[in-house]
C-alpha cells in the first residue's frame, strides 16, 4: 500500500506540471498585451509596466517564467494581483464557502441518490422504479444553470422561501438549495449506479450462498448485497467531491455565492492573470489529490485490489 501510494503520488507530478503549464501558457503566453485596459483609458505608465514586468518576470522566456512561478507556488506563495493583493488572501477568503457548498452538495446527493437507488434496486420494476428512472433522466438532461435559475426564481422570488442571493457568510441552511442544484446531476448518477449495482449483486453467487447459509433476510441484504453494491457508489462520490470543489462556478454565479468559482470567473473577466493561474493550480491539486484518496479508499473497501 505504501509503495502504491508513493507511485501514485509520483504519477501526479507530471499531470500537475502539465495542467498548470497549459493554463499558464494560455493566460500569460498568449495574451499579446497583459496590461491592456489595466490603467483605465490611458496607456499604463512606464514605471507601472516596469514594476509589473519585474513582479511577474515577464522579460524571461515563458518556460523560465513558469518555473519561477512554480517555485514560488511550492513555497506557498500564490503571487499578487495587479492591484497588489495577495492571491492567497483571496483564496483563503473564498475557499471555505466553496468547500461547504461542495460538501452540502455531496451529502444531499448521497442521501437522496442512494435512497432512491436502494429503493428501486431492491423492489425491482414497478411504479417507483419508473418514477425514479424518469426523474434521473430529467435531472441528467437539466443543465445546472437551468435548475438553478428556476429554483432561484420559484423558491426565492415567487414563494420567498429562500433568499435568491446567498449572503457573504452563509449558514448551512442557506446552502441547501444551492447544494441541491450543484449536486443534482450527480444525484441522478448515484441513484442509477446504486440501482444497477444492487441489481447485479442481487444475482451474485455469494448472495445465494448467504441465503443458503440461512441468514436472516436483513442480514443478506444489509451486509452481503449493500456493502458490495455501495463500493462503486462511494468511489463515485469521492471523485465527485474533487470535481465539485472546482466546478461550482455556475451555481455560485446563479446564487451569487462569493466562493472560489466566482473569484476565478471575475479574475478572468478582469484579466487578473495571477489570480486565475493561482486558483486553477490549487483546484487541480485538490482534484488530483481527491482522486488519489478515492483510489486508496477503494483498496480499503475492496480487499481484492492489491496494489503492491
Amino acid at each position: 500500500m505504501g509503495r502504491y501510494t508513493l507511485r501514485r503520488l509520483l504519477q501526479l507530478v507530471p499531470v500537475f506540471l502539465g495542467t498548470t503549464f497549459i493554463v499558464y501558457v494560455l493566460v500569460w503566453g498568449l495574451s499579446d498585451d497583459p496590461f491592456a485596459g489595466k490603467c483605465g483609458q490611458r496607456e499604463c505608465s512606464a514605471s507601472y509596466v516596469a514594476q509589473m514586468t519585474e513582479r511577474y518576470n515577464l522579460d524571461d522566456p515563458l518556460v523560465l517564467q513558469y518555473l519561477k512561478y512554480l517555485g514560488a507556488l511550492l513555497t506557498g506563495d500564490f503571487g499578487q494581483t495587479f492591484s497588489g493583493t495577495e492571491v492567497s488572501t483571496l483564496i483563503a477568503d473564498a475557499y471555505p464557502v466553496t468547500i461547504q457548498l461542495a460538501l452540502v452538495a455531496v451529502v444531499i446527493e448521497a442521501l437522496i441518490g442512494v435512497a432512491a437507488g436502494v429503493l428501486t434496486g431492491l423492489r425491482g420494476r414497478g411504479f417507483v422504479d419508473n418514477l425514479v428512472l424518469v426523474s434521473t433522466l430529467v435531472l441528467i438532461a437539466l443543465p445546472v444553470f437551468v435548475t438553478g435559475l428556476v429554483l432561484r426564481q420559484v423558491l426565492g422570488v415567487e414563494l420567498g422561501w429562500i433568499r435568491p442571493s446567498v449572503p457573504g457568510d452563509p449558514t448551512i441552511g442557506q446552502l441547501i438549495v444551492p447544494g441541491f442544484v450543484l449536486g443534482s446531476l450527480s444525484m441522478a448518477y448515484v441513484a442509477r449506479l446504486t440501482r444497477t449495482s444492487l441489481v447485479e449483486n442481487a444475482r451474485a453467487d455469494f448472495v445465494r450462498t448467504a441465503v443458503a447459509k440461512g441468514l436472516p433476510r436483513r442480514r443478506v441484504v444489509g451486509v452481503h448485497m449493500l456493502r458490495n453494491s455501495l463500493i462503486p457508489v462511494v468511489t463515485f462520490l469521492g471523485y465527485d467531491v474533487g470535481a465539485l470543489m472546482g466546478g461550482a462556478i455556475v451555481t455560485e454565479g446563479v446564487f451569487n455565492i462569493r466562493g472560489i468559482g466566482g473569484l476565478v470567473f471575475r479574475g478572468i473577466q478582469q484579466q487578473d492573470i495571477a489570480t486565475v493561474v493561482g486558483i486553477v493550480s490549487l483546484l487541480v491539486v485538490v482534484f488530483l489529490l481527491a482522486n488519489l484518496l478515492v483510489d486508496l479508499l477503494y483498496a480499503v473497501l475492496d480487499p481484492r485490489i492489491r496494489y503492491d
Binding site: P14, V23, A141, V144, L149, Q153, V199, V276
Partner: protein
C-alpha cells in the same frame, strides 16, 4: 439473462433470442441488440424527438417564417399571443422563431463535439491499449493532464484566452472554438473507454491467436478490437451528444460560448437570465427546448446501452 445455474444456459439462450431450436440460433450481437431495441418505447420516443429536432435544424422555415433576428423594441417582453405564440423577449424578438432557429447551432455543436471527442479519444485509446507499456503510460498521463482540468474552468480559461470578454466574433469562428474546447476537455473520457476495451481485447485468446498467425496490427485492430469496442463507444457518443448540448448552453450562459449573432438555446437563456422575473417566457421556452433535446439523446443512449448490455435492467 440470469446465470442461475450453468444448466440453464441452453434455456436462457433460447428464451432471450426468441427463436425456436430449429431456427437460426442467434443473429449475432447487432441483430440481438436491434431486436431488444425495437421493443423499447423509450427508444422510439427518443428517436422521434431527435428526428423532429433534426428536421427543425435542417429546415427551420417549415416551422416558422419569422426572421429570428427581427426585433421590435416596442413589443419588448410581450406575452404569448397569436402573433408570437411563445411571446417576445427583451429585444422584442419572436421567441418561437428564435427557439426554432436555435436548433441548428445547438445540434451542430453537439454533433461536431461528440464526433471529435470520439475520434480523438478512440485513436488515442486504441493506441494506448494496443501498444501498452511505455506508449500507454505516456498517452494516459497526457490524457490525465486534460482530465485534471475541471470542465467549466478549463472552458473559461481556453475561451477567454482566444476571445476577450465582450469581443465580437464571427459565427463560424466561435462555433469552431466552442467545439474544439469541448473536444480538448472531453476526449480523455472516450480514450479511457476505448483503452479499457482494447486492453481487454488484446488479452483475448483469439487476438493472441491472430497475432501468432502473423496478422498485422492494423488487421488486428480493425478486425478484432474495433468491432468489440464499437457498442460502448457508440453509447458514449450518443449520451455525450446530449451532454455536450448542455455544455454548449452552459458556456453560452457564462457569456464565453456562442453569442449574438448566433442564435442557440444557450444564448437565449443567457440573454434571458437578467430579466427572468419580468419576462419568464424568454427563459422558459429555450430551456424547455434544451432539456427536451438533451433528454432525447440521453434516453436514446440509455436504450441502446440496455439493449446491448442487458445486465443493468
Amino acid at each position: 439473462m440470469t446465470e442461475t445455474a450453468p444448466g440453464l444456459r441452453t434455456a436462457g439462450a433460447a428464451a432471450s433470442t426468441g427463436t425456436g431450436p430449429d431456427a437460426e440460433p442467434t443473429g449475432g450481437l447487432w441483430a440481438d441488440g436491434w431486436d431488444q431495441l425495437r421493443h423499447r418505447p423509450l427508444f422510439w420516443i427518443a428517436s422521434t424527438l431527435i428526428g423532429v429536432l433534426l428536421v427543425m435544424a435542417l429546415f427551420p422555415t417549415l416551422f416558422t417564417s419569422v426572421d429570428p433576428q427581427a426585433a421590435d423594441l416596442a413589443l419588448s417582453g410581450a406575452d404569448p399571443s397569436p402573433d408570437a405564440i411563445f411571446g417576445r423577449d427583451l429585444q422584442g424578438h419572436d421567441i418561437y422563431a428564435r427557439a426554432i432557429h436555435g436548433a441548428a447551432p445547438t445540434l451542430t455543436v453537439g454533433l461536431l463535439a461528440s464526433l471529435g471527442t470520439v475520434v480523438l479519444g478512440s485513436v488515442a485509446g486504441l493506441a494506448a491499449g494496443y501498444v501498452g507499456g511505455w506508449g500507454d503510460s505516456v498517452i494516459s498521463r497526457f490524457a490525465e493532464v486534460f482530465a485534471g482540468l475541471p470542465f467549466i474552468l478549463g472552458g473559461i480559461v481556453i475561451l477567454t484566452t482566444f476571445n476577450k470578454p465582450g469581443q465580437i466574433v464571427g459565427e463560424v469562428r466561435i462555433v469552431t472554438q466552442v467545439v474544439l474546447t469541448i473536444v480538448v476537455l472531453s476526449w480523455p473520457l472516450a480514450m479511457r473507454i476505448m483503452r479499457a476495451a482494447a486492453l481487454e481485447a488484446v488479452q483475448q485468446d483469439y487476438v493472441k491467436a491472430a497475432r501468432a498467425l502473423g496478422a498485422g496490427p492494423w488487421r488486428i485492430v480493425a478486425r478484432h478490437i474495433l468491432p468489440n469496442t464499437l457498442a460502448p463507444v457508440l453509447v458514449f457518443a450518443t449520451i455525450q451528444f446530449g451532454v455536450f448540448i448542455g455544455a454548449e448552453a452552459t458556456l453560452s450562459f457564462l457569456g464565453i460560448g456562442l453569442r449574438d449573432p448566433v442564435v442557440s438555446w444557450g444564448v437565449m437563456i443567457s440573454e434571458a437570465q437578467e430579466r427572468v422575473a419580468d419576462i419568464p417566457q424568454a427563459l422558459f421556452f429555450p430551456a424547455a427546448f434544451l432539456v427536451v433535446a438533451v433528454l432525447a439523446f440521453v434516453m436514446l443512449g440509455d436504450a441502446v446501452r440496455d439493449a446491448f448490455d442487458p445486465r443493468g435492467r
